[in-house]
Symmetry: C2
Subunit: 579 residues, 2 copies
């Protein structure tokens, strides 16, 4: 009956759809949230060979599940995530998001590819292929992310094309080199064209007007960098699909949701995405379910919100087999209490139940074969490399952190000078910031200052530093900085909070300096410990390591720092410490 | 500057988008109807190398057109049409629809393929390839349309696959053999599977419940056979894209538009289509513009109506380069006075102006190379073949015509008998109906009776008889029937109104018995002449030849007639004349 003869499989699927033969499974008595008609239907769902074959009231099943009083929704889809940002490996990530109703994620593994090259991407694909979560990887388009930072190996247009040929990627990862596209740089355009007929995802912060028009000629027609309602509306109007992140949804003034709600048709080309998400966030708040809850609370009609996490991303990514509960679709289904509350009780992936009472049913382990190597021959910087001589009569540039945003400001401040050398100044919240080339071990260090951490003493250090993921350290004093750097070198990465020569809290990240082998729960607990330790040093940020990690991101404006020093992203060039 | 070096073309497109170099053309000062945001934007459109490269207020052009006070809309798209139904060749069809703002049509050439085999399809493609209208052809899926009628040559699954390989078709034509699909008939399923990854269009009149579920497993996920609001809502809810025809839009009770308007999100998977359209209709009322006007008059929000003739069909057919006015899209644009009135003034196809003051600018001629041959060795039926002996005690089945619908009813009536033979009875509006095998010239004739033409004398005859396009004749008396048949045989097809031995009106159809070589205007004038002649014979129908042509359509319920005799479509079997 379940033979491999295609005609027999087909005959049997049709017979089940017609109700002539029993289905493998019937989910009975629930209310289906229909994303096509935007209404509930009290109908049974017949599942056969991993597919939904029928929706109706005439089905018998070998197995049957009672969903009376429950809502049945299509498995959720995350349209854009860097799984590495959760510090979880694909397996541990799958366990936590499946329990939240997610059954498909579009993953841009550019963190691990920056840190470990194609070996990193291949590790992610290898670990994902057996999981009961569909993780569809992009081929990263921008490695290195900019000419101003050091990645493990460059992935050029020919390597992108070849990676597609090997079927290691399903679509083109976010084209962050918008300067290259807008400047008609052949290097950027060749990478885009290497994607051929595939979906090309975008990243175009603050781009508008003629620059946005030029960018769109590349076919990169989605964006998750939406800093204002005006920006979002312009991008939508020029043909982009909007990917809304938590920050975009929770923003209060200049409300992005508001401008979409003026005409509900605008939501048709919108989806919700994680982009970056912490294990703690996943564990405590949830995944796409969390974003749907938030939107409904903000007044988005529940079915519109649901479509943004199901049908809309499926259509953008041309995944015709998912995003709805309908005949012929994959049997990826979540059973919840209500759209508004969205408490996930059961989840089926291709017809197999994987979640019960909100708990993931199997014990996934990360793939413990060969892990991708991060470079290990880090050259520890000499103390004199970190000591910048003052320049008489010059003020200095300082990175102005914005909390809960990846954008920064360029501040101009009077330096503090000691023995002819620039030093930190806790009184004015001016801390050291260093970025050390981890990826190629050149010994190159970028030095600068940052305002916003309110560190009175000690240091934070991280091997997670978007997008190249070199070591990044913020410190109130030099001894703490040196301890922090040593800790990362000895452990081949990790997240550290130190004070003087003491390590107060540490999260190991053995997979490429980016991912733990632990579960979301364990990583979430460490996250609390790190935040508390940072708080004791005076740090006033909610999520200090998230903030830290984006200070090296040389594709999001305005002033950032890499192993080459300051980068003015708006002007697309390196910038001097001295003003 | 316009060289063939791709990098140079690209550099130049980017330079134009940025406003650094002049565009080929700037359309200036108009209000763009933005189908993404559903609002008007007063913006200029920069066009370069046939593409829209910029939307904004900063463009200079080598050429410039003033659109002040006008509305600019994306070129219209017809998601489903049988061009042959207009009796126009592709070139003459293009001339009339371009003037109405249409720039893309999805054409299912199954009429000519029934009548002339793949030679017919190849003729259509050959004539279309040089036209300034994108006609994308399907590979017809159902030739013959059913086992109950005679086409020129069967197009089986292997021929479908091979026709795709030769790039003669872009998608699978409407799968009308819903009985075969629902019965799990390998012949039907093989044809569907021959489409591979391509869009598969559907045709599933009155299908619902478990049958609809089974049908949808085939991946044929659109339908234009929507007889009621309930049927439409069920099909939408099960995942189908709805193709709304004129009849669906103009219907008053059980209103299909009403059920969609309950929630505007439902329109996202709807489009408007012609399916069948007459040259007269095109000439006098318009094409997709006519349907948009009608929808707006019926209360559909104007931008929603516009999207149903632009963005929505483009997305269904995965044509990512059209359906909107945005950077990177084809420069297919119409300039109109308002969405509500939709009077087309200018049209650009790939940046080239093809319509001015509502008139098509060039003199297209039909491709006068080799025309596809319809079979010419028709065997004229012997009079005794048309004379059916009465059966004592038996009533007879009569086709009950429904005006303005392709559905019919099975009526049971007392026969009129003369000399032991069944004869027509004008007093009870019971006319002869005959279908003669034109395609293979076997001499096979199907005989029956029809009620609804109100013919008092004379006969109507047509070589347009869906879907196999054999000769179909309705007659009040036998001498007229014989004259009508002779007229069609002598002219290798055509539309004729005759009385006794006199031909009152005639439309020649030299191309496969389906298409004229004349313009829409000429064919429209003939249409009037034919209708007037029919009216003089007592025929009370608005469009007698349209009604006639569907009486042989063996895939639309309930009682139809082919060269094999009566077909009960609902029961999917031949049916006896005698009850």
């Amino acid at each position: 009956m379940n033979g491999h003869d295609p005609l027999e499989r087909l005959r049997s699927a049709v017979a089940v759809a017609l109700g002539h033969e029993p289905a493998d499974l019937v989910i009975r008595g629930g209310h289906i949230a229909n994303v096509f008609t935007h209404e509930y239907e009290q109908m049974d769902i017949a599942i056969h060979q991993g597919k939904i074959v029928g929706v109706g009231l005439w089905y018998e099943g070998v197995e049957s599940v009672d969903a009376t009083g429950k809502i049945l929704v299509p498995g959720l889809i995350d349209g854009h995530i860097h799984i590495e940002s959760s510090l979880l490996t694909p397996a541990m990530f799958a366990a936590v998001v499946l329990a939240r109703g997610t059954t498909t994620v579009m993953a841009d593994a550019h963190e691990i590819t920056n840190s470990c090259g194609l070996d990193g991407l291949s590790y992610m694909v290898r670990e994902s292929i057996v999981l009961p979560l569909d993780i569809l990887y992009s081929v990263p388009s921008c490695i290195p992310p900019s000419p101003f930072e050091t990645c493990r190996e460059e992935i050029d247009a020919e390597m992108i094309a070849n990676t597609f040929r090997r079927s290691l990627g399903a679509y083109l990862g976010e084209m962050m080199n918008y300067h290259g596209i807008v400047d008609g740089n052949p290097n950027a355009w060749d990478r885009v064209n290497a994607a051929g007929y595939r979906v090309r995802t975008g990243h175009a912060p603050e781009l508008g007007g003629e620059d946005l028009c030029a960018y769109l000629l590349s076919g990169c027609d989605s964006d998750h960098e939406l800093d204002s309602a005006e920006e979002a509306l312009e991008k939508l109007g020029r043909g982009m699909w909007l990917m809304l992140r938590y920050n975009d949804l929770s923003r209060d003034s200049g409300d992005l949701l508001g401008v979409l709600q003026e005409n509900l048709s605008r939501f048709a080309r919108c989806m919700v995405v994680s982009n970056n998400v912490s294990a703690r966030g996943l564990h405590e708040n949830g995944h796409i379910d969390h974003l749907i809850r938030l939107m409904i609370k903000k007044g988005v009609p529940p079915f519109v919100a649901l479509a943004m996490g199901t049908l809309n991303p499926a259509r953008y990514f041309r995944l015709w087999d998912r995003g709805a509960i309908a005949p012929g679709y994959n049997a990826d289904i979540a059973m919840i209490d209500s759209l508004e509350n969205f408490a996930v009780e059961k989840v089926w992936k291709r017809g197999k139940q994987v979640v019960s009472e909100g708990r993931f049913l199997s014990d996934l382990e990360p793939c413990l074969g060969r892990l991708p190597n991060a470079t290990t021959n880090y050259a520890a910087p000499l103390p004199e490399q970190l000591a910048i001589p003052a320049k008489k009569g010059h003020r200095i540039r300082v990175i102005g952190l914005r909390e809960d945003s990846n954008l920064t400001d360029e501040l101009i401040m009077e330096p503090k000078i000691k023995d002819g050398v620039l030093v930190s100044d806790a009184a004015r919240d001016m801390a050291y910031i260093f970025v050390l080339d981890k990826n190629q071990g050149s010994g190159r260090v970028g030095c600068g200052f940052v305002k916003g951490f309110t560190l009175r003493r000690g240091a934070l250090a991280s091997s997670v530093g978007h997008d190249a993921h070199n070591f990044i350290v913020v410190a109130a004093d030099m001894p703490s900085a040196l301890t922090a750097i040593r800790t990362l070198i000895e452990n081949a990465g990790g997240l550290a909070v130190v004070n003087g020569d003491k390590v107060l809290a540490f999260q190991p990240l053995p997979v490429g300096g980016l991912m733990s082998l632990d579960s979301a729960q364990t990583v979430a607990a460490n996250d609390h410990a790190l935040a508390e330790a940072a708080q004791k040093l005076g740090c006033g940020l909610n999520r200090p390591f998230a903030s830290l990690s984006f200070l090296s991101c040389s594709v999001i404006p305005e002033l950032k720092i890499t192993d080459y020093g300051y980068v003015n992203v708006t002007k697309n060039r390196l910038s001097s410490l001295f003003y």
